[in-house]
Symmetry: C2
């Protein structure tokens, strides 16, 4: 079932059917109507490959993230999906598994498809990847962190400031031996670490012995493991800032297991505001990141670009929010 088939059935030429579908206003109303009905009756579905080849522009948005094994990307993806759904575009995901060579391979695979737009995250600082991204001929949004100058467009939050906010909050709650849990090796997490450090160091509260991480995706289990190691090495510890809420929940469970009272004896601050953070006992203090909005907005920016919208901002900062819940609510330090 091709355009030509429909055209034959309608007694017109293929191009007219094409126009009826893509630029309806260029076809006289009654003819257009007849054609669209026929398209529906015959169950004609346009061939994307042919269209892409003819126009040199596919209708896929490519999305490259470092990992899909982290909960946070689910929400970003939801936002992406919801914004794309009413359009003609399709999404293609790839993840680099935190591996630069894989990242490059995936990027090249994408480029072979002439995507209509690209959303990436986690490529910061990878020279070859950045070079590839320089010469994509389509709109590009780098999501998650607004701290670095984007190639085309940037969207996210300021992770340095987020790290500062968490550290400041724990200090304000009266904690004095503040650790860091989870892998801060990635660019974004690293910037949170720097922000964290920038608050504690001047106060003489920063101690590298209080930092524990493992080279895996953040998980609840991992959080419990890290917490156990931290407690053994530094029993004087009285609070942690975690790389993510998974880690924070694991730390909380480990405290429960050991009978350490949270927040009285120990404060926990997570990062992300995952769905369970407001439900756990005690509920987790965390930094809310507008993940869904990030996905939605990233696609929105691509669509705006396609539509030729002018004066688009190069960088959009969606802002974060420190949510003060029970896990840092020390009785004598209520605020």
């Amino acid at each position: 079932m091709t355009l030509a088939d429909v055209a034959r059935a309608a007694g017109v030429s293929a191009i007219t059917v094409s126009r009826a579908l893509r630029n309806p206003e260029q076809v006289s109303p009654n003819l257009r109507h007849a054609i669209l009905k026929l398209v529906d009756d015959l169950g004609y579905v346009p061939d994307f490959a042919a269209r892409t080849l003819a126009t040199k522009k596919s209708s896929v948005f490519a999305v490259l993230v470092p990992s899909m094994a982290e909960y946070i990307f689910m929400n970003v993806m939801s936002g992406i999906e919801d914004c794309v759904r009413p359009t003609e575009y399709r999404i293609q995901y790839a993840n680099s598994h935190m591996d630069v060579r894989e990242e490059i391979r995936q990027l090249k695979l994408f480029l072979g498809q002439n995507p209509a737009g690209i959303i990436v995250s986690g490529t910061e600082g990878h020279v070859e990847s950045m070079e590839l991204l320089q010469k994509v001929g389509c709109p590009l949004v780098q999501i998650m962190d607004t701290g670095l100058e984007p190639i085309d467009m940037g969207l996210g939050i300021n992770h340095f400031d987020a790290g500062k906010a968490a550290a400041q909050h724990l200090v304000d709650c009266g904690y004095r031996h503040i650790g860091l849990l989870g892998d801060f090796a990635g660019k974004r997490a690293e910037r949170r670490y720097h922000g964290f450090h920038s608050i504690l160091a001047p106060l003489g509260l920063f101690d590298p012995a209080f930092i524990f991480s493992e080279d895996r995706s953040p998980s609840v289990r991992g959080g419990a493991r890290l917490m156990a190691r931290l407690l053994e090495t530094a029993p004087e510890i009285d609070a942690v800032f975690c790389r993510s809420d998974d880690i924070a929940l694991g730390a909380l469970f480990e405290c429960q297991r050991r009978g350490i009272r949270v927040p009285e004896d120990f404060g926990i601050c997570g990062f992300s505001d995952l769905s369970f953070a407001n439900t756990s006992v005690p509920a987790l203090t965390t930094i809310r990141v507008p993940r869904y909005e990030m996905g939605y907005c990233a696609v929105g920016m691509l669509l705006d670009r396609e539509k030729g919208v002018q004066d688009m901002p190069k960088v959009v900062d969606l802002g974060f929010q420190l949510i003060h819940r029970e896990s840092t609510r020390r009785p004598k330090h209520q605020d």
Copy 2:
């Protein structure tokens, strides 16, 4: 940069370059070498659209799931990704948001791309969707549930048996007022419900008043809400089987909040064995579903089909496993 460009540079015809890339053994070694080097130097990337149009077969596997907002699909996706990575194929996801019309729309969009294979879940019982799937011209795997006759291939676990196992376990642990938490409206969950019912009803332990659900994606928060409602309506309740571990964790938190002791006064059995299930306090009894393996295996089946492997099983049952942890370990009923 097209095939023709490379061909010109190499002083051969386009088809030879094409062969050097796709069927290297058909090109003499030294020529092949020269061509491949040139491909690399010039940074040639094949145009997928052109290839798809010429071969009538794209290199994308289409994956349609009811929702990406559930944690379980992350693991399925990881398996899919890992199995696809070493190949030339690409994955394209879509989710129907539990909506039949959307499901059909997505399916049609997929069909317009001549996918090399399709993986679906959650389409059972949707007449029009099934009709569309009947006539896809490519391998098709229906994942998650093995209970129903697949159109082409099926892969998953038996959800009816899983429901039975959970019910039997709770009974064996000595619980007598056993409720059900979470939305069992979907086909798979519904079959768990039936299995559950098939054990309790004959024992006179089934009570429809013990069933609470809400029409949303399972979440920890939702689990706590449902647990609260259940306790208000049926204070005699002493155990629950939950639609997923998210719900189970929420139920656990709600018990903690109310000072209900788990497992002494109340037993909780989840479903999925999500990463936190072995870490919570108490750790959650649950039914482990081989999610990662399901994704990996589904792609494996598609690849085998492409390779023309014979004698493939129509249905593969990966099996589930009841993991007995603390949340149902009643002191006097240890086993």
